[in-house]
Amino acid sequence: MSAAHPPAFELADVRHRYGPRTVLSISRLSIRRGETLGVIGPSGAGKSTLLRLLQGLERPSEGTIKLDGASVPYPIPLSLARRITTVFQRPLMLDRSVRDNVLFGLWVRGRKDRAPIGPLLERLGLSHLASAQARQLSGGEIQRVALARAMAIEPDVLLLDEPAANLDPANVERVEAFIRDAQAHGTTIVLVTHNTHEARRLADSTLLLMEGAVVETGPTAAFFESPAEARTRAFLGGELVY
């Protein structure tokens, strides 16, 4: 990803607390438009909190988040919120068919055209399940429906929280191909994953979060091949057990 791309998100002195506990503390972070940022780190590092802040679901306790150069006001205006969507770690299905779940984002936007979702379902291997009750699907299928539901609205920013968890290798491949398509369309992606290989395959740059703080960030190839920080080396070497 070229540095010429303007930043989509800029975080400055962002701290977020739940009660007395600071769960996220980021002095400076820039996510460029069209970039895929891989966020790795142990459980409880603040990865999901970061996504919630970027989605505008929570207001940071301190600091500012800018989107396309302008500070995000709170509550986040609908026009901004609708440019971003999240595929959650535990995606929840509405008590409706797969098709109606995927159409949900279009329904909230008052768009009733059904045309765009056929190819989406096909690419994710869900066509045969279009009329099935979404809640009766397996974890892996639900994960793919959630991805289709998010992409149906063609977001500018896609936040992915462990999108390939619960998937078998064939479907990991399918989902990763799908993410690559989104990248090719210029979607800005923040990919939270436990799987360092996944980050390596998909991310333009990678960030390691630990205990709510950024340990290291940089272009993916350099991040994995020659990490500057001892803690990054220890994490990538599997020495840090949480």
Binding site: A81, F88, D95
Partner: protein
């Protein structure tokens, strides 16, 4: 029988129109005094109908604040009393039903770009089994109710006599067979109405 259905149906409609939004609002939002509102709604579920009848009677009597409306001993007074009895049932059970929907779902719906109203509507839709239960419970509570309608309606033949008050009168007069027959009609009416409600619920599902 027709009056029974009209009074109960209209009261249920009013209680649903007011109770579902109030229950959803209390269940989905956090505001100061929410605990007190919840307590009042739960207590309202156990409101003795005869007390409701008494209060409505006092309000609508000549010397009461709404005496000029001249509603006492009319079906309108019966609808008012039954709406008051049904409202907390609908509101409290709606509140419980929406609270039963996974809070994460609300957040995920918002992350799809839904407005507050769209989120509320989606949660209500998800809670539709509980909503049906709320309406069915309220219907059961008021169609079988006798104390309030007797007090504010006066059990006037051809004007405010409904099935329950007719059963009371028949029993008092020793006409047990008629009372029992009316009881069976009441039960069948309840059965039919619940079947329609469940059918509607099935269609929504």
């Amino acid at each position: 029988m027709s009056l029974t259905f009209q009074v109960t149906g209209l009261a249920l409609l009013i209680a649903t129109a007011l109770g579902v939004p109030v229950g959803a609002l209390v269940g989905l939002t956090r505001f100061p005094g929410r605990g007190l509102v919840t307590l009042v709604l739960y207590t309202g579920m156990g409101l003795p109908p005869v007390v409701v009848g008494l209060v409505v009677y006092m309000m609508l009597s000549r010397s009461g604040p709404f005496g000029s409306m001249d509603w006492l001993f009319t079906p309108s007074a019966m609808v008012v009393a039954q709406s008051i009895i049904a409202f907390p049932l609908v509101a409290a059970l709606t509140m419980t039903a929406v609270e039963g929907v996974d809070p994460d779902l609300r957040q995920q719906v918002r992350a799809m770009g839904a407005t507050r109203w769209q989120t509320g509507w989606t949660v209500l839709r998800e809670a539709r089994i509980g909503l049906t239960a709320a309406i069915v419970a309220a219907f059961g509570g008021i169609i079988s109710e006798v104390g309030a309608v007797m007090l504010v309606g006066g059990n006037i033949e051809g004007q405010t006599r409904v099935l329950t008050t007719a059963i009371v009168l028949s029993t008092r007069q020793g006409e047990f067979a008629l009372a029992m027959a009316l009881g069976i009609v009441l039960l069948l009416l309840a059965l039919g109405a619940n079947a329609v409600l469940l059918q509607l619920h099935g269609r929504v599902r």
